[in-house]
């Protein structure tokens, strides 16, 4: 049996619009029969953090960072037109108008299509997070070596 063609997406950015784009591309790849892996790093980790509860990070600075940087697919900001949160509210309204799925719905669809979620251990350590801070949909925790091994066998590699 022939191996599936591969696609990787590094999700570095945590803005709602970029994360939407990342999931859309991942689902597009999976629908076309590809084996898709998403690597979440830096602010992209926010997309796969749990929505509820507070992060029990050690030290005042990590606490501050993680409070400002609260994650969860529901809380992602927009890369443009913040306008004190109104930009994001507008974008979500526009998405509902055309029945466009939310980040959470896209994430669930991606999982259904077999897209793999990998969280970057290096940035998790830097931010004082632990595995418990992430949603159960995360398939594995790994570093750059894992990424490179998959990326060099892939047809499509994107950094978002």
């Amino acid at each position: 049996m022939a191996e599936k063609e591969k696609m990787t997406i590094i999700v570095f950015s945590g803005e709602m619009d970029k994360v939407l784009s990342a999931f859309n591309l991942a689902i597009g790849g999976a629908t076309a029969g590809m084996d898709v892996t998403m690597f979440f790093t830096f602010w992209g980790l926010n997309a796969i953090k749990k929505n509820e509860g507070s992060i029990k990070s050690k030290g005042i600075m990590r606490k501050m960072l993680n409070t400002m940087n609260r994650g969860g697919a529901k809380r992602l900001p927009l890369s443009k037109f913040h306008m004190m949160g109104m930009g994001k509210w507008m974008m979500q309204k526009l998405m509902r108008d055309i029945n466009f799925p939310s980040v959470e719905e896209l994430m669930a669809t991606a999982k259904e299509f077999g897209v793999k979620f990998v969280a970057c251990t290096t940035t998790i350590g830097m931010m004082g997070l632990s595995k418990d801070d992430f949603i159960p949909d995360v398939d594995s925790f790994a570093g750059v070596a894992t990424y490179v091994a998959i990326a060099k066998e892939s047809k499509v590699n994107l950094f978002i």
Copy 2:
């Protein structure tokens, strides 16, 4: 006859400097004999909107979004050093000093070299735009499936 090698560029960002970079890379690929396709999505759509006229979008929010987000190659902001528009004016002056082409000139050159422009139907729908809002140089309107089909046959795929 051997098929040409392919290159794809997703233009997600609408800032002048990123759009300049995208067209520069597209022209570089086309000059090297590659078959280049640019996919414009989200804020990148601004680069291929018509400069003149107002967008007749429905609903107050889409009107607001499209007013704030007026497109056309002449109107793209800069990703750094906005300084109330002065950063962009400076950058344009610096570009003229060394006879560097403007976004509009690069776009025309890209077309001459056969670069294809594809506009993302999903984000067009989300923003309440229609095909009439775009310049005639757009070759087609398509979604992520079209992107993936071309990208997995391409030697170079970039997300800008």
Copy 3:
């Protein structure tokens, strides 16, 4: 002898977090035995500018641009949580806590592993810079044609 697999990274952004990510990926590729080339363009050029001394650019606007845009691996801002520089200071503290290398250390490691640094001649000209403004670790100065030639033979191409 078989040729090494190739990887290219365009470093467009000059923010510390994105530059860290770029060097991390480059080192990851080189460690896996790949031949990695990093192309620095636009704000990414800041990462390979000399830390000390002032840039002797001609004309008031280029002087302003280069003063605001002072480079050197030590001076890169953060893409989020500026908070008047405090965000960056926090990030650096967090990195020290877990013994994560600084941008300068990662850059030195990348060189040790044979990663090539190429600076974009087009944006250097636009900003009124000269070759003397860059660190000696820069291997060459080249344009988009050089990038495309390497990228189309590469397994992994990223735009950061």
